[in-house]
């Protein structure tokens, strides 16, 4: 009844992998220190564990914090053992930062915490506060990239847990700071609106990050947004925790830099600091900071002085950029040494008890690791992708129906209206149906949006649901993520697609990845409306005519709708809001600015105005709209048995293609169908195949760019699905690979009715305007 002893732990004497050298040194230094402390130990010094030891802690509290610190340390060691054995895949650790456990102790487990990758001891200390948690195996399963990892299911090693109110993210580039501000505002907004939120009314948000990532634009945007909101007298209960180890990978911060930067906004963001090597000092400062935020609902920042041990990660050659003396001097500041010294000196625990705690923790981490590495990993791409966008059409349709029945649609005025009026009415309807829905963005409130799409919404629905934000897209999207996490349905507006690019990581790296990294346990539903695409007559240049659809199509899991007419815009919005509510879906609606102002198909016919759709009608995700050859827009009459051509397009291209198809019929008697994709991601692939099958040729019209535009995946779809023995005749008309220029020159770079007709003639062999 004996178990074989498997591979060597950090403390064994067997030859070491380079990943383990510094770990072993730090481990040994700690054990040596305990020997020294043991020699000085006087049992008469022992005191009752219930006695206070300072900083609002009892001896028992301090010992518990130490236990969390020790567990964090052994998980770091084990990560390296696993890595060296090829069984673990993540070695960025928390060693040296374990003082953050004191901050967890000052918070409540119901306070949401967005954690830095070195906040392991914080996470473990919080897990200790909630019954029934199993962080040891959970973390090891994350390191082993096992499918059984309860948070990410083997998709990434993250700090995350639903029960612990820790939404996972990768946190490497401070991209989680804007959403921390958003979550703080969202908790307050949900309470103000009286809608259910997963967070208590008096919760505060904790957001930790490293000193080097303070320099990221996203971090600065978050501080700016928090300060701006505070100046506007909005409650922003967020505590930023800067774990300041003074170095970012190999680049040291200038002395005092982090303090100077963080303390500079003292008027709006209260500044606290403490030594992260001293668990009492850290706890005292953390408590003061937490009390400040909870009581005043104002933001604060707590800077903890910590050290970085074991290098940046397992593979980091720290000796290349740091002198050995400097590395050793840092290791002597190990917070575990500081804690052990304090606990022994204060008579809380004897050095031999501390060693027992340390070694028994090592043993159980090792034992759990043996279990973790035998657990299954993700076995296929389908496994990996499963939680990317967990939604289904039936659930969404049911939610649309439920909402439609929940609030009567106002007035039955069915007269045709231009697109902005229809979208405006849809937003008003949805805001009424969903008290938790918010519309915000720059100028959407008082002004009613640059193009009047949100005109009078604030007046009719109220400032709590419709409001102006500051002019920063990163903050707008961070606000959306946070509000989504707080139980709201944010529908932010980005004024122009070109304005999205500086903020797009909020959509890409944060919003769209949350369900992926949490297997759908956490969600940040939202519908982002973006005024976009070219053909603007009033407002020229690339900023206001951006056609880079690839920027959003490329984001895994993100749903992208693009209506070409008002009724479809309303139907898409209903779908997206329902998907956000029922499935946590993150989506974008690209609204063609040029069509905001378009009322006609042919000049003066008023045909491009559409009636407000019936209650409950919506556009299911991935469903296109086919204009059959007998459609009135295509000249009416009996339908062709087989169309001569189908044009596959979206956005402005729909109207242009309809006009081109009319011309083909008038000039050549050719009968066309036109397929409006309506969804750019996921594409209506079956509709594309069906339209192609029912026509003799296919022309793809894409107002986006030739490289990376929507025409590329449509052409791929056609190529992959065409009959082997009778390939389809296909061609495409696209925008050119350029920024859109100012003035009439823009027309050289975008498809036009003429260029579409000419391409069709060429494809159908109708050269020189004659019959083939």
């Amino acid at each position: 009844m004996m178990a074989p002893e498997p591979d060597a732990p950090v403390s064994s004497t067997s030859p070491l992998s380079p990943k383990l050298v510094s770990a072993r040194r730090v481990d040994q230094r700690f054990l040596d220190e305990l020997v020294e402390l043991d020699a000085q130990w006087d049992p008469r010094r022992r005191r009752d564990l219930g006695d206070p030891v300072g900083g609002g802690l009892t001896g028992r509290d301090a010992l518990r914090l130490f236990e969390s610190q020790v567990l964090s340390r052994h998980l770091d060691f084990e990560a390296r053992v696993m890595g060296a054995a090829g069984e673990g895949f993540y070695t960025i650790g928390s060693s040296g930062h374990e003082g953050n456990a004191s901050v967890a102790a000052a918070l409540r487990p119901t306070d949401p915490a967005l954690l830095h990758y070195r906040s392991g001891a914080f996470f473990l200390e919080r897990a200790r506060q909630v019954p029934g948690q199993t962080p040891t195996l959970d973390v090891l399963l994350g390191l082993a990239a096992s499918r059984d990892d309860p948070i990410s299911g083997g998709r990434h090693k993250v700090w995350g847990s639903l029960a612990l109110n820790v939404p996972p993210q990768t946190s490497t580039i401070a991209s989680h700071l804007p959403k921390a501000v958003g979550l703080a505002l969202g908790i307050e907004r949900a309470a103000h609106l009286g809608v259910p939120s997963p967070h208590p009314r008096d919760a505060i948000v904790l957001c930790s990050f490293g000193d080097a990532s303070l320099n990221h634009a996203t971090a600065q945007a978050a501080f700016q947004a928090a300060a701006w909101a505070t100046e506007r007298k909005l409650p922003v209960p967020v505590l930023f925790l800067c774990e300041d180890n003074g170095i970012g990978i190999s680049v040291s911060s200038p002395p005092g830099w982090t303090r100077t930067s963080l303390a500079s906004r003292g008027r709006q963001i209260a500044y606290f600091e403490a030594s992260g090597l001293d668990l009492v000092d850290a706890h005292q400062a953390a408590r003061a900071a937490v009390d400040h935020v909870r009581l005043h609902r104002h933001p604060a920042v707590l800077r903890l002085d910590v050290v970085r041990l074991l290098g940046h990660a397992g593979a980091d050659p720290e000796h290349v950029y740091r002198e050995e003396e400097e590395i050793f001097a840092t290791e002597k500041q190990d917070p575990l040494l500081c804690s052990a010294r304090f606990l022994a000196t204060a008579g809380v625990a004897s050095p031999s008890e501390l060693r027992d705690l340390y070694e028994s923790t090592r043993d159980r981490v090792r034992a759990c690791s043996r279990e973790a590495v035998r657990r299954p990993r993700l076995e296929s791409a389908a496994d990996v992708e499963a939680p990317l966008a967990p939604r289904d059409a039936a659930t969404i349709a049911a939610e649309v129906k439920r909402s439609a029945e929940s609030a009567p649609t106002e007035g039955r005025d069915a007269s045709p209206r231009p697109m902005p009026r229809v979208i405006n009415r849809a937003l008003r309807e949805l805001l009424t149906q969903h008290r938790e829905m918010l519309v915000f963005g720059e100028d959407v409130g008082k002004r009613g949006g640059v193009y009047g799409v949100t005109d009078r919404l604030q007046k009719t629905v109220g400032r709590a649901q419709v409001f102006d934000s500051l002019l920063d897209e990163t903050s707008i999207l961070g606000m959306a993520i946070g509000c989504g996490m707080a139980g709201l349905i944010p529908v932010p507006e980005i004024q122009f697609l070109a304005y999205l690019h500086n903020a797009i990581d909020q959509l890409r790296g944060e919003a769209s990845s949350l369900q992926f990294f949490s297997q759908g346990q956490h969600a940040n539903p939202m519908v982002v409306r973006i005024a976009s695409l070219g053909y603007q007559k009033g407002f020229g240049g690339h900023f206001h005519n951006d056609n880079s659809t690839a920027a959003v199509r490329d984001i895994p899991g993100l749903v992208v709708g693009c209506p070409s007419r008002g009724d479809d815009a309303a139907g898409i919005l209903r779908t997206l809001v329902a998907a956000a509510k029922a499935c946590g879906t993150v989506s974008v609606q690209l609204e063609p600015i040029a069509l905001y102002k378009e009322e006609n198909l042919e000049p003066g016919d008023g045909a491009w105005k559409f009636s407000y759709p019936e209650p409950g009608w919506h556009v299911p995700i991935g469903e296109g709209r086919l204009y059959e050859s007998d459609h009135e827009f295509l000249g009416g009459g009996p339908a062709a048995e087989k169309a001569d051509l189908t044009i596959v397009t979206y956005g402005n291209g729909v109207r242009l293609s309809l006009l081109a198809a009319r011309a083909l019929r008038e000039k050549h008697g050719k009968r066309c169908t036109v397929l409006d994709l309506r969804w750019l991601q996921p594409l209506p692939t079956q509709a594309i195949v069906d339209a192609a099958t029912a026509a003799s040729a296919v022309l793809v019209v894409d107002e986006g760019r030739r490289a990376g535009g929507v025409a590329e995946p449509v052409m791929s779809c056609l190529l992959e699905n065409q009959p082997v023995d009778a390939p389809w005749r296909c061609a495409r008309v696209t925008g050119t690979d350029t920024f859109i220029p100012l003035g009439p020159a823009a027309n050289h770079c975008l498809p036009s009715t003429d260029s579409i007709r000419e391409a069709a003639e060429s494809l159908l062999g109708l050269n020189d305007g004659g019959e083939a």
């Binding site: 009844m1 178990a3 029934g132 159980r364 759990c368 043996r370």
Partner: protein, 373 residues
């Protein structure tokens, strides 16, 4: 390759573990020739008998050595509790002997319901006299007050696969809702692996019996009323908890010597457990709140990764639930009942149930071999 003692989790059984096959098991354990067994058994029996003598009750060993098992006698709360604590204490002796022989290293303890009191003793949080007094007092209060509500057990796992059956879990939810709607006091008393113990007042129990779809198993029909059991782990026991706190105010509590996991999945650390809090939890919290044995074992597994789960006797009442929990956790590659049985038949079983003759003999054999070596 060096070898090390097996990391062992100690799991203590609750009420209903001393049944007719266990009659005489205490006496037999004393005769096994393991000193630690006698010492450990005698230490709790001595105190139990002192308490019992004051009430003019027969000694524990007398009950154990009765000619035949009498449900009326042996299942009475005070007698049953004493026999169970004594049986577990005897097995604790066997565990200690195995640990001294370097075969195992107990790393964590937990228990089911009444087994929590035993786990307090096994982990060292209560010594033998204090543990005996706790068990005796809690049981005798119950006898004095008579039954207060009741418990019934219902399987939520499939008999063959051991997987939790969503339909039955749903039925339990609906049963609880129906009983509450009918004005009854209805609660989950114990989450017990593939079973749930429901508790409540008589109206609630009646609704459970009428609404839960009957399940036949080994000739018995579930939901099955547990005779002589009060509605433990529910607010119906509030008065009882108050009395216990009054009578046991001077019980000697200390931090356990190994991690001890309670019925919420909270770990009581040997380094910093607060004895006053342990008292509060034992005499109040767990008496009034659901005892989640499922979570306590889950935490033992996932935080301590034992190589072996030692189920203390008497009996083998936790064998099934623990097997079901291992399957639910996919622990150590065990994904089905068949996997579990195969593992148990191997040279490296994951569970050693000391109330099972075969497992007990195996451990005794290893001890004997160690002594000779």
């Amino acid at each position: 390759m060096s070898s090390r003692p097996l990391r062992a989790a100690l799991v203590c059984p609750g009420r209903g573990s001393y049944l007719s096959p266990e009659l005489g098991s205490l006496g037999r354990a004393r005769e096994e020739g393991v000193t630690e067994v006698r010492t450990s058994l005698d230490a709790v029996v001595r105190e139990l008998d002192t308490c019992r003598a004051k009430r003019g009750q027969p000694s524990v060993m007398t009950l154990d050595s009765a000619e035949r098992f009498s449900p009326r006698e042996h299942l009475r709360a005070d007698h049953a509790s004493a026999l169970i604590l004594a049986g577990s204490a005897a097995d604790l002796g066997l565990v200690k002997a195995a640990a001294q022989a370097g075969l195992i290293e107990p790393v964590v303890a937990c228990g089911n319901s009444l087994g929590w009191y035993t786990a307090l003793h096994v982990s060292g949080a209560l010594d033998a006299p204090n543990a005996a007094r706790l068990v005796d007092t809690m049981a005798s209060i119950q006898v004095e007050r008579g039954e207060e509500g009741g418990q019934l057990v219902y399987p939520i796992a499939d008999d063959d696969s051991w997987e939790v059956d969503a339909t039955r879990s749903q039925a339990v939810e609906e049963g609880l809702a129906a009983a509450r709607a009918a004005g009854g006091q209805a609660h989950v008393s114990i989450w017990l692996g593939g079973n749930v113990v429901l508790a409540g007042d008589e109206p609630a129990l009646k609704v459970f019996t009428e609404t839960l779809p009957p399940v036949e198993r080994k000739g018995r029909t579930f939901p099955l009323r547990l005779a002589g059991h009060s509605a433990f782990h529910t607010p119906l026991m509030t008065e009882m908890s108050g009395i216990a706190q009054g009578r046991l105010g001077d019980l000697g509590w200390r931090a356990p010597e190994m991690p001890l996991i309670d019925g919420r999945g909270v770990t009581w650390s040997p380094f910093h457990a607060d004895p006053a809090a342990l008292r509060q939890y034992t005499l109040e919290t767990q008496v009034l709140e659901t005892y989640d044995f499922t979570t306590s074992v889950r935490v033992a597994l996932r935080e301590h990764a034992p190589d072996l789960l030692i189920l203390l006797g008497p009996g083998d009442s936790l064998g099934g639930p623990v097997g079901q929990l291992l399957v639910a956790e996919r622990w150590s590659g065990i994904a089905s009942r068949a996997d579990f049985l195969e593992r148990q038949g191997s040279d490296d079983p994951i569970v050693a149930s000391l109330g099972r003759a075969a497992d007990r003999s195996r451990l005794l054999g290893l001890l004997e071999a160690g002594a000779k070596a």
